[in-house]
């Protein structure tokens, strides 16, 4: 059994570690490229959202490398993600690909199916081994998130372009190679230290920009045109609240252990959006509100074209922007999105935000020294 799984940012590092510790032969799909997207788009309906197309492309490319078993997440709606597996199963058959699709469904939808899925993935591993594998994967999830966050915070004041990303790249390779939890922690600490080393004082003012939206688009640099890197190089400090560990905590852990309180995004979003709408609709609105209140200068909202929850969020965000006084730019991404289009819009947006940041700096300095004459 040669197992593969879809890409989502750096998700491959912990997933690979988990499956390998269980004794699987893991095939990581080649990094997502234009070819992946067009391969996927060829076998999926054109009205579908981008993550379906990209993950489909991942599967085909992994199958080309010899994968015969595919792990995919399921779901119980209302977001379309929950039905990806059905379309992909049909599309794989149509594409002449014989790989078997194993769908990881939440246990409460079908307990028996869940048990048999666990049995397939577990193979002959003992409970102890599964626990060890989960611990290692969790440590890697945390480390990957820490590196992402550090890079987002550091890029705007790096010494020499691309040095932070080179550092992070080396760190991710170390993480991938690490076999034990302590090695993972060591690698992460070393990398964070190195990242500190390649940052200087930076320009006097940074625009602090939040990135919200649909999790796949936000976390997969290959489809979001490297938004975080672009923002960083334009001189913005990027705050990105969606992370793997956060997602696992709020969707897996809280789903099983109901007594743990969920992070309360709904209370932030409730003046504008009072009910969950599937996907990350509430998160997009809630985090934007939180960002405005915690003094960020602007928000970039990313969504795949025709994404239902993000259409709801996108129609509400302008009123959040007005009421909370924070500029919000919504960007829809599909397989035709081009780099240059993003470049110009992000440049213009960050320029405006930098102005805002400077103004803010001036006011606060004035406020300290005395009244401002207008």
């Amino acid at each position: 059994m040669r197992v593969t799984f879809p890409h989502l940012g750096n998700l491959w590092i912990p997933t690979k570690a988990f499956l390998r510790s269980l004794g699987h032969d893991v095939i990581t799909p080649p990094p997502t490229t234009k070819r992946t997207v067009s391969l996927g788009a060829r076998h999926t309906p054109d009205g579908a959202c981008l993550p379906l197309k990209v993950t489909m492309g991942n599967f085909i490319e992994a199958a080309e490398l010899g994968a015969d078993t595919i792990l995919m997440v399921g779901g119980i709606g209302p977001c379309r993600l929950g039905y990806y597996c059905e379309l992909q199963r049909r599309a794989l058959a149509k594409a002449g690909c014989s790989a078997r699709l194993i769908v990881v469904e939440p246990p409460r939808s079908d307990l028996w199916g869940f048990a048999s899925m666990v049995r397939t993935i577990r193979r002959r591993a003992t409970f102890r081994q599964v626990l060890e594998a989960s611990r290692l994967a969790w440590a890697k999830f945390r480390a990957v998130d820490a590196l992402d966050q550090a890079a987002n915070m550091a890029r705007w004041r790096e010494i020499g372009p691309g040095r932070v990303d080179a550092c992070i790249g080396r760190g991710l390779a170390l993480l991938d190679a690490a076999e034990t939890c302590s090695a993972v922690r060591e690698a992460a600490e070393q990398t964070l230290h190195d990242v500190q080393g390649c940052t200087g004082v930076g320009p006097r003012q940074a625009a602090r920009v939040g990135v919200v939206g649909e999790i796949y688009i936000v976390m997969e640099p290959a489809v979001n045109m490297d938004v975080c890197k672009k923002l960083g190089r334009l001189g913005a400090q990027v705050v990105q609240p969606l992370t793997f560990s956060h997602w696992i905590e709020s969707h897996v852990v809280c789903d099983i252990a109901r007594w743990i309180p969920r992070p309360d995004v709904l209370s932030w979003s409730s003046p504008y959006l009072r009910h969950f709408v599937g996907g990350h609709g509430v998160e997009s609105v809630g985090h934007s509100v939180d960002m405005a209140r915690s003094g960020l200068h602007g928000v970039v909202h990313l969504a795949p074209m025709t994404c239902m929850p993000e259409i709801v969020a996108g129609s509400i965000l302008p009123s959040v922007s007005l009421a909370e006084g924070i500029p919000v730019m919504s960007l829809a991404v599909d397989e035709h999105t081009a780099d240059t289009g993003f470049d110009t819009r992000l440049e213009a947006f960050v320029d405006l935000l930098l102005d805002r940041a400077r103004e803010e700096g001036n006011t606060s300095r004035h406020a300290g020294s005395g009244p401002i004459s207008t």
Binding site: R90, T306, M308
Partner: protein
């Protein structure tokens, strides 16, 4: 003076309209219904709605805009789920918030939350919040609910369960798949159902079957290894499609989907796949948005019905819609 409540004639009004109007009447409010969708209404919708939304949602915004100046409150229920294990659609779940956010100066929005997936108790609690919004006591609301449910169920019996309609003209029966809120709105659906009828074929819509009947077909297919859908209306469409494909009781299927509709983009793919596998019934998919034109639909429909009719009576003499004899050899 009684409260004037506006009810937009769009989206799930086409499904639960009788119930909504009766409920408001029973609660002593004066319900004002917006007119059937027309050009001005859709235009108003396009101006206020975000452009990525689907056509029926845009039309809903138009209806709300029409009502906004004429009423004290808008009645926009938040339909989350009407059965266990299935949702309606994320956009409809956020509809009241979208209306609130994008229509400045609008009257207050009354948005009872209907979420049957969490059990009757929670639904009842959220519906009880209607009482202060409508200015009635909880007991009166309960009575009104019971009465309007009775009226609504009396109306629901009008569905024909076997889908049998008299086939006129060429005797071609066309199954029409599409959300009720599209098919029942002649402006949005470009009058598809009547067009089919005018071309001499007998349309059978998926809405003609009871949810129980379509649910049965959908479950049956799921038992043979397809994942169950989690959208209520999607289940109905898919159930009807399975029934038609398996029994062959229609001669052709037309699927009317709105561009940008999330569930339908997936359902269409599944139906196409199933139809191609069985290779039994021709299928035509029509996507509509605010730019759709009548002529484009007419020609495609004529051609489709001609093809279906020819296929049906390969050797019988057949008068096609164009009025010209067709050589079937």
């Amino acid at each position: 003076m009684s409260l004037v409540v506006g009810v937009p004639r769009a989206l799930l009004f086409h499904e639960y309209g009788h119930f909504m109007l009766e409920l408001l009447r029973q609660c002593g409010a004066r319900a004002v219904l917006s007119p059937v969708t027309n050009k001005e209404i859709l235009q108003a919708g396009l101006e206020t709605c975000v452009d990525e939304a689907c056509l029926p949602v845009k039309a809903f915004f138009g209806h709300s805009a029409y009502l906004a100046q004429r009423v004290d409150a808008l009645f926009v229920p938040r339909f989350v789920s009407v059965e266990r294990g299935a949702y309606i659609c994320p956009k409809l779940m956020g509809l009241p918030d979208m209306i609130r956010a994008r229509a400045p100066g609008a009257p207050r929005v009354i948005d009872p939350c209907i979420d049957m997936s969490r059990g009757l108790g929670k639904t009842a609690r959220s519906i009880a919040e209607l009482a202060p919004a409508l200015g009635v006591s909880c007991s009166r609301l309960a009575i009104a609910l019971a009465r309007s449910m009775k009226t609504a169920s009396a109306n629901a019996d009008r569905r024909l369960d076997d889908g049998r309609t008299t086939a006129a003209g060429s005797g071609v029966r066309i199954g029409v798949l599409g959300h009720d809120y599209n098919l029942n709105d002649p402006y949005i659906s470009l009058d598809l159902v009547s067009k089919i009828r005018r071309l001499g074929a007998a349309p059978v819509t998926a809405g003609a079957y009871s949810p129980r009947e379509t649910g049965r077909w959908e479950r049956q297919r799921a038992r043979r290894g397809a994942k169950r859908l989690f959208w209520t209306f999607g289940r109905r469409l898919l159930g009807a499609a399975y029934r038609w494909l398996d029994t062959g009781e229609v001669d052709g299927i037309v699927h009317l989907a709105s561009f940008g509709c999330g569930p339908e983009s997936f359902i269409a793919e599944v139906i196409q796949h199933e139809a191609a596998e069985r290779d039994s019934i021709p299928l035509m998919c029509v996507n509509i948005d605010e730019h759709s034109a009548e002529a484009g639909l007419s020609t495609r429909l004529e051609a489709f019905i001609d093809t279906v009719a020819m296929r049906k009576c390969e050797y019988a003499s057949h008068l096609p819609t164009s009025g010209q004899p067709v050589d079937t050899h």
